[in-house]
């Protein structure tokens, strides 16, 4: 038996593929999926942007209420707005780089790998692009408020200590969760796709 015989057996398969597959149902399914996906993305983006905008608004309001003493809060506002801008930019970039299912296999693999590398990098560097600006803004806010608050120094130090503790705990949790997601979700998938790509391009 040779390759031609094998091809002959292969082409003689009696495959009843998707006999119950209905384009109308597919259309409904597609529309439902598309709407669900669009709604999910919209609310996620809105939530992320709104959270940044809200915190920036709170900082701005506090700064405005404090008058001239509140000027350092403008830096905190700028940091939060910058973070919101970063989220939006990343979302737009990911959307533009998306490759359709009808792309050549290699191009699709490359795009998937690039996207996973991007996500992996974002998860591992969350301390730089997310925690650092957030914590800096929170620290500026806390210090400005405490410096101008009419309370004893001991109370200011205690409040500062509590704030530091909360920030450190939350930051550690965010950092650890992101690292875990990178390790458990992204890396195995990335390895699988990179192995496929290497196998595709390797010559014996």
């Amino acid at each position: 038996m040779n390759w031609s015989d094998l091809q002959s057996v292969w082409s003689g398969q009696n495959l009843a593929a998707g006999a119950d597959f209905d384009p109308a149902a597919l259309q409904r399914d597609f529309e439902a999926k598309r709407r669900r996906l669009a709604r999910g993305l919209f609310w996620r983006d809105t939530r992320e942007a709104a959270a940044g905008m809200f915190v920036a608004g709170v900082f701005a309001y506090c700064g405005w209420q404090m008058g001239r003493a509140g000027w350092p809060l403008s830096a905190a506002v700028a940091l939060m707005l910058g973070l919101t801008g970063f989220f939006v930019r990343e979302r737009v970039r990911a959307h533009r780089r998306r490759v359709g299912a009808d792309a050549p296999l290699l191009a699709k693999l490359d795009a998937e790998i690039a996207e996973l590398h991007r996500q992996h990098r974002l998860l591992l560097t969350v301390g730089t692009w997310y925690l650092a600006p957030c914590n800096t803004a929170a620290a500026i806010f806390a210090i400005t408020m405490e410096v101008n608050a009419p309370i004893p120094l001991a109370a200011k130090l205690a409040a500062g200590g509590i704030m530091l503790g909360v920030l450190a705990t939350v930051s550690w949790a965010v950092w650890a969760l992101n690292r875990r997601a990178a390790r458990r979700l992204i890396e195995p998938r990335l390895n699988e796709l990179e192995t496929s790509r290497r196998a595709f391009l390797s010559f014996p």
Binding site: Q13, L15, D102, R189
Partner: protein, 176 residues
């Protein structure tokens, strides 16, 4: 761009004309009835979704192969089930062609069964190349689907066939 009802006749026609592609790719990448059906649905969904982007530059069968293999290669649903042992006898019974005699039918069924088991044992990308070659696509068309050069397709396909021959040792003599 989303597919509209105007794409429906084309989709229906292609689905009927190229139903073998959906079936063969699904059976080569999925394991067990449920997973195969799920993968097949996903491939059809992706073909439907991509239909408005079909420019007519490639043959419909080549384009459908591209979408199906992309979907199969990057498909994640049921990943846990894929890790299970191969079940060589699962849902292969219906695969044989309508052979002239029961003996021929049994022989072809056994061969197909062995072939699917061997295909499943190949690396995912080798599986893609073997599928395309078994369906008689030319190197140029395989290159179009995969994004490789024709020379590279030739080399990679020779390697994949050798692996397939090793896996099917005894069932076939040579695959050159």
């Amino acid at each position: 761009m989303s597919p509209s009802t105007a794409h429906e006749p084309q989709f229906r026609a292609w689905r009927e004309e190229h139903r073998g592609i959906f079936g063969k790719v699904a059976r080569s990448y999925g394991r067990g009835e449920h997973e195969i059906a799920e993968l097949q649905q996903e491939m059809m969904f992706q073909v439907w979704l991509s239909l408005p982007r079909f420019s007519g530059q490639a043959k419909p069968s080549t384009w459908i192969y591209r979408v199906c293999l992309n979907t199969a290669l990057t498909w994640r649903r049921g990943a846990e089930r894929r890790e299970r042992r191969i079940e060589p006898h699962a849902d292969i019974g219906r695969l044989a062609a309508e052979a002239a005699t029961p003996a021929e039918l049994a022989g072809e069924r056994d061969l197909l069964e062995n072939l699917y088991v061997a295909i499943h044992a190949l690396a995912k990308v080798d599986r893609a190349l073997v599928l395309l070659s078994l369906d008689g696509l030319a190197y140029r068309e395989i290159a179009e689907v995969t994004g490789l050069t024709e020379n590279h397709v030739g080399v990679a396909l020779t390697r994949a066939r050798k692996r397939l021959a090793t896996l099917m040792k005894g069932a076939i003599d040579e695959l050159e």
